[in-house]
Point group: C2
Chain length 580, copies 2
């Protein structure tokens, strides 16, 4: 069975030394500054919970999956008890506002804890995964009565919740939603079917609160006719069952312990959240946090898979020593074989890089919410708009790729389910798909965020990266690599903006590679910071500076080919096959 | 359910126009030249068998898996009947020599048929998958009595066979094998346990012939003490059960319909194949063909996954038209969205490129066996030694990557088992692992084949690629791209040979990327040929030339970064984490 050991050393290294987060907390007036000692304590405790309670249920959940019968869903053995333990220990309420019973902790710490829960047990973490998003949505859009009735129950985790968006014909394209609301006696009634609803039905809580996107009565067709409704499974006013039914659970590649439900709303009582026909906007309130949360799933998968492979590679004896390594060691653990060593080094570089990107973004989420001046908040929002799709797509891809490389380290044993490496591959494949596919993130970044204002906001991000490189990189040979890459990227950006005006299809073809280039430059910023820190001295995880050098040697130079492909995307794509 | 439609047009395009195989067959005296009409007919029939008999069992086999009880293995519903149909139609004997009841068809045609069987149903294809290898091994190393007793039964497919190599402590490192042979009454008795034995037990045939690697009595420790033994499940002389037992089947990530068995040999009667203590050499007779066979599995997975995604993308309606595409089409099939189109174009380029590499190698296998002059045969052997590990690693990786990209095209539906895209991802993950992991192939190529003779044989391969580029590329702008890449690679090769003499660990660190560079240059050769053919005119699959241009625009230039990493590998790898 795969163990989980929370990587507290690296997490705290990023929080404290790379991002200087504790110093920032003190400057954010709206935030309940926990102080670094409390933060360390909270993370250590969360890590213990993840390792001791959740990780042992990871393989069980995969093996058993969820059982469906007669509208009810039984979660795997131990999942409900673990959820009670989670609620009892107060983990559900960490990020919620104190007025609703929460503890108002920074998003950054929530993000770190999210990483831990997912590393230990992705499937289980799906149940409370939407709690904070639904809480934030209700806090922003609910009226006083709704808030009073639901927020304390959500903040405590007593009730869980879902987001009901997808329908068979409406996946990436929510404008095609057919589920509709009708007005009856001054209230709303919801009818329609929803697909792929995580936690749509389960046995963890007595009530489940569904946030449902549905056509507003009399609204226009397409996305502008959608409103967001709160639809509880049990009506709290009366304790009666609402018209919400689960018709089945999907058999999935991974996260099998998470109930992915087909839902049916029949004559279900619902409450409008936000303005009529502004359902997408109401939902987008939680979009940045939700997408960052999925990005963190990528970090979590990468972390768990890398450490799993590393432990195995140090134990597994196979082969004779290769010239130049392991002199005098025969037999040798496979970690000493160069191909395995190189794979593990690449895995580490990917995981720790993605972690810096995700935590940085979480820190900006705190700034966007709690900073004193509107300018600071605006600045943080501008950055978040650019970084969130990048982190979602880059980190989830990195998580899957690391899980894939980790599986390879196990050789034939990786292909056997018993080892756990195969489950990691399967579980890690969903984050690149849900919460907007990675391709949609890339279009969001380039078309909607970069091109839309002629590259102005993105240019300011590049200014920040350049200033950081000039500051952190002083006297480091890697500074020039980063600065040259930034300069080349600026030239490319100008061309993209210009060419897109002539050919509006171009940025759609270039989007995936553009997102990759953005991620590489952002990674360059933080790996340069790591090198600067290691020159300053002070404690750092073993091999950290060498990993940073590895990034500048072998990863960042790949940006040249990525940008070559961006230029090639100016041409039309080749025709595809005929096919029967 | 995923359908399979054999891509006969592209297969024949490669066989006839790219490789001019029918012309070559006529020049190989040892080969029963089928002629192109017969070849077309055989392939069309094989395609029909794969599509109509095997493909419908692909999802069933995955769902049911193999059932183990009391030493017996039940294969999934329909597998045994399909195998009988396969034998009855004479497919098992295609490549075997006429003297043993076979039809002596070219390896190239066998390769194409292998691609079809695996595309339709990889798990099922595992059962007859080792037949030809075991046949060839026995034909080369068995004495007359053994051959007479076993070869006709293997050639006809009446009996199936296995390769029993792996043990728990001996995976990539066969020198650690413990299973041992003892001499008793002038015969051999085998005792020991074997792991991950494909088709070790099943209900398809009455007898199963195991080729077992075991320690020779009195032999030295390590790989030089191993002999190869033929150990039948049923002793044909008496009809009695031999001491061969199956203790269980593995629960695997994919190819679940293939029985991966733990085998136990207890006092089992065995016959020596080849010389005592030359077991590895005896087994290596079938190594090139077996590795090429696994490479073809990569082609097969890529082909099936790409076409599956292409069909879906043309049917699935989602989203509004993007500027510059699909003007006037609303709603649009997702195949018209640039991100999906680009992914499908990349998939096609990967599949059709890998197919050219694999078929080329199969053609060389025919030349190495049947060419008139020893020089020609030697030349073909030299090429095969270089190309086989490259095809095994490159094509299997391509197959998995295409399956991964194809799954992404399905969005959320790709993550649901019902669609079949998830099974493709799972099934396609084993070829990069078995028959020597891809990392072992890379070391085989660079350390054992390239460095060992100072790059001489490899230099001759580069000469061939250069001559082809000068000939085929005349007047094409892509000629310069290919010639520049070849020139840069030659300079790098000289440095690698030199640097490896000083630091023997270096090529081990550079091997994976070296194999990638080799593959890209070989692909360049054949895509240039495709461009030359399209300039000549004549029928070619739709979009073929555009796909070739796409390769030179967006894929081949990546070699610069690959070779940059090869140079970086001269430095030591970064230290890895501490981990508990």
């Amino acid at each position: 069975m795969r163990r989980y050991v929370p990587p507290l050393e690296d997490m705290l290294f990023v929080i404290e030394r790379v991002l200087h987060a504790p110093g920032q907390w003190a400057t954010l007036p709206g935030l309940a500054d926990p102080g670094i000692e409390t933060a360390r304590h909270v993370l250590a405790e969360a890590g213990r919970f993840a390792a001791e309670v959740l990780a042992p249920l990871n393989a069980v959940g995969d093996r058993e999956g969820c059982a469906y019968a007669d509208g009810r869903v039984a979660t795997p053995t131990g999942f409900a008890a673990a959820y009670r333990a989670y609620v009892d220990a107060g983990w559900a309420s960490l990020g919620c506002a104190p007025e609703w019973g929460g503890q108002g902790l920074p998003h950054l710490l929530e993000a770190v804890i999210q990483e831990m829960l997912v590393s230990a047990n992705h499937a289980w973490s799906m149940y409370p995964g939407l709690l904070h998003g639904a809480y934030a949505c209700l806090a922003a859009h609910g009226d006083a009565a709704l808030k009073a009735r639901y927020l304390p129950r959500l903040a405590s985790g007593e009730w869980l919740c879902t987001m009901c968006l997808t329908e068979p014909q409406a996946g990436s394209d929510l404008g095609r939603i057919r589920t509709c609301a009708t007005e009856r006696d001054g209230a709303y009634v919801i009818d329609g079917g929803k697909l792929f609803i995580s936690g749509g039905e389960h046995d963890l809580t007595d009530n489940i609160v569904h946030l449902v996107l549905a056509r507003h009565p009399g609204g226009p067709p397409g996305p502008r006719g959608l409103s967001l409704f709160l639809v509880p499974k049990i009506l709290p006013e009366t304790g009666q069952r609402n018209g919400v039914y689960c018709d089945g659970v999907e058999s999935k590649l991974g996260i099998r312990g998470s109930a992915t439900c087909s839902m049916r709303f029949e004559n279900a009582r619902g409450w409008l959240l936000g303005e009529p026909c502004k359902g997408l906007a109401a939902m987008f309130v939680m979009m940045n946090a939700a997408r960052l949360g999925v990005g963190l799933q990528g970090v979590a998968h990468g972390e768990a898979a890398y450490k799993h492979a590393l432990r195995y590679a140090r134990e597994r004896i196979q082969g004779r020593p290769v010239p130049g390594i392991a002199a005098g060691t025969d037999p040798v653990p496979i970690a000493l074989h160069p191909a395995v060593h190189a794979s593990l080094a690449a895995q580490r570089c990917a995981v720790e890089g993605a972690r810096m990107l995700a935590y940085w973004t979480a820190q900006l989420l705190d700034e966007s919410e709690y900073a004193a001046s509107p300018d600071q908040r605006r600045h943080a929002h501008e950055r978040l708009a650019l970084l969130t799709p990048m982190v979602k797509a880059w980190a989830t891809r990195a998580g899957f790729e690391v899980a894939d490389q980790a599986l390879q380290v196990f050789g034939g044993y990786g292909y056997i389910e018993e080892t756990g490496a195969a489950q990691a591959l399967r579980d890690s494949r969903i984050p690149p798909i849900y919460e907007g596919t990675n391709e949609i993130q890339a279009v969001d970044l380039l078309v909607r965020k970069v091109i839309a204002d002629g590259g102005a906001a993105y240019g300011r991000l590049l200014d920040e990266l350049e200033a950081a490189a000039r500051h952190d990189g002083q006297g480091l040979e890697q500074q020039a690599v980063q600065l040259d890459a930034l300069a080349a990227h600026r030239r490319l950006l100008a061309d993209i903006v210009q060419d897109s005006a002539r050919d509006p299809g171009y940025p759609y073809r270039a989007a995936d590679d553009f997102l990759r280039a953005t991620a590489l430059l952002c990674l360059g910023r933080w790996w340069l910071k790591v090198l600067a820190l290691s020159r300053e001295g002070g404690a750092a995880p073993r091999g950290k500076a060498a990993t940073a050098r590895h990034f500048f040697d072998t990863v960042l130079p790949g940006i040249a080919h990525v940008e070559h492909r961006i230029r090639c995307a100016r041409r039309a794509l080749p025709e595809l096959d005929d096919c029967d």
